[in-house]
Amino acid sequence: MLIVPCPNCGPRNAADLRYVGESRPRPDPNSASAKEWRAYLYERANPAGLLRETWYCRSGCRRYFTLERDTVTNEFTNPPTPVAKLGKRP
């Protein structure tokens, strides 16, 4: 099971958190065009590589936070390398 580096609790099992998804800025609701708003709702960069994403520490500190993860290796890059990831590469 993936370990997610919660900035408050420390490393936690992914099952302790809820994956919120790709972090996207919210357009101004009063000026956004339909195209912009729906891009916010539906369009996803979905990269094979670094992805900025939001997690919610549901079983722990109950805080939302964003992290950067490589979606190919599942390594988190920011904040600094979480501990158990150290083993991943030589």
Binding site: M1, L2, A14, A15, R18, Y19, G21, E22, A34, K35, R38, A39, L41, Y42, E43, R44, A45, N46, P47, A48, L51, E53, T71, V72, T73, N74
Partner: protein
């Protein structure tokens, strides 16, 4: 603006031997080997159509281009081996008992193509129309089952809701007692559903397309799509026009490129500058060791996120819903094995001594409304048949048929009109949303 393009058919070089019991015997007696099911040929420098992805969708598209529209100057490019993606990793369940009329009609056409596939493709794909039940454990899910059954009936699809006694008769292994946690209150019974040999479907389409002159290129990875005149960087993106593809085996000049990939749909579309509403998630499955056949139908529980069938060899093949976070890593998880086994035991306590033999995962491209993205895109000559979530295999034949029609006629066929990419911008989402989270 529709550009003129002259399509031409490649002359047939050979007629492969047909498969039959008689030929099995005669070849066996004469110790004659069977020829290749599909040829290995050099990659040409131009085609009329390039299909990216050698799975069921891509191969079916190529096959129907040739078979229905006489377009045979077509190449299918596959970065690994044929059927290496979702086509070879799914749990091979077929059904058409969807919730929306557009979904039902679409998948029913697929089921019909599957029904006659063994004869049409001259390859036994072993479609076992054994029936399919979706269990309801709560009032709310029973209501949804009724809803689906009613919509199905109005579209002429055989579905009905059955009660616990009838369920027990169909599947004695199910615990239909007043179970403390997940009582079985009823089920949606869909007799035409069943399972099939998924690899054989891939090989059947490949062999069929090859016989008509289509080329299959394995280990051929698309590195870029050449687009000119578009709004985006490098002339890509909306308003542009496809001119070719770059592969690890050289460049190919081609006016029409079809994205038939799963798991990599975003990455391929990005090459043309077309954004998609897709998040990629792994979907896991597992198989047990074989035991004597005891499970005669496909059993699904949406509440428990599990679906299971037993192959003719006696293995249970089962799966769950997609993994909880986006990733392109498909190594599989223990959580899946634990959770799914636990839920299966809730349904069938008698299988605790069966052994899980192997687990695996494939990638699924999830869209916001659990419906695909099909047809033309803002880049001329770039078409998509993607976003199939967890149900792409079921739709393979009809998707190929319809995409071929779209390419050949330059018009969007009515059957796939609801699935256009532009629906997201118009917020005209398909109503499978919310009903098909685990819709196997």
């Amino acid at each position: 603006m529709v550009r003129e393009h002259r399509y031409h058919a490649r002359p047939m070089k050979r007629r492969p031997p047909r498969y039959s019991a008689a030929r099995l015997v005669s070849r066996g007696a004469r110790k004659r080997a069977w020829p290749r099911a599909w040829r290995e040929v050099p990659l040409q420098d131009s085609y009329d159509v390039v299909v990216i992805g050698g799975g069921v969708h891509g191969l079916a598209t190529a096959y129907y281009l040739a078979a229905n529209h006489g377009m045979t100057n077509v190449a299918v490019l596959e970065k690994s081996y044929l059927g290496s993606g979702g086509s070879g990793r799914n749990t091979a369940i077929l059904r058409s008992n969807y919730l929306t009329p557009e979904g039902v009609v679409f998948y029913d056409r697929s089921l019909e193509l599957y029904r006659t596939m063994a004869i049409d493709l001259n390859m036994n794909v072993m479609f076992s129309r054994r029936g399919h039940i979706t269990l309801a454990h709560s009032d709310a899910s029973l209501r949804t089952m009724h809803w689906r059954a009613e919509v199905n009936k109005l579209q002429g699809v055989d579905s009905s809701v059955i009660g616990p006694a009838e369920i027990k008769k169909l599947v004695p292994a199910l615990d239909t007692s007043s179970h403390p946690r997940y009582p079985i209150l009823g089920a949606l019974y869909h007799p035409p559903g069943g399972i099939i040999r998924h690899d054989a479907v891939v090989w059947g389409y490949a062999r069929g397309a090859d016989a008509l002159g289509v080329e299959m290129h394995q280990k051929t990875e698309v590195l870029d799509i050449m687009v000119t005149g578009g709004d985006g960087p490098g002339g890509k993106g909306p308003g542009g026009r496809v001119t070719g593809v770059r592969t690890n085996r050289g460049d190919v000049s081609v006016p029409v490129v079809v994205n038939c990939t799963a798991g990599w749909a975003t990455l391929i579309s990005d090459m043309a500058g077309v954004g998609l509403p897709i998040s990629t998630r792994p979907l896991q499955a597992a198989v047990t060791e074989p035991v004597k056949v005891f499970l005669p139908v496909v059993v699904v529980s949406g509440t428990l996120h599990v679906y299971v069938s037993q192959t003719a060899r006696g293995e249970l093949v089962f799966g769950a819903s997609v993994d909880p976070y986006n990733t392109y890593d498909i190594r599989g998880s223990l959580d899946f094995a634990e959770g799914t086994a636990g839920h299966l035991l809730e349904l069938m306590p008698g299988i605790s001594r069966m052994r899980l033999l192997r687990q695996w995962a494939g990638l699924c491209d999830m869209t916001p409304d659990y419906s695909p993205v099909m047809g033309f895109t803002p880049v001329e000559g770039f078409l998509c048949d993607v976003g199939w979530g967890t149900y792409g295999f079921k739709a393979g034949p009809v998707s190929g048929e319809q995409m071929a029609e779209a390419i050949a006629t330059q018009r969007t066929p009515e059957l796939i009109a609801p699935f256009s990419l532009s629906r997201f911008e118009r917020d005209a989402l398909v109503g499978e949303k919310g009903a098909a989270a685990v819709g196997h």
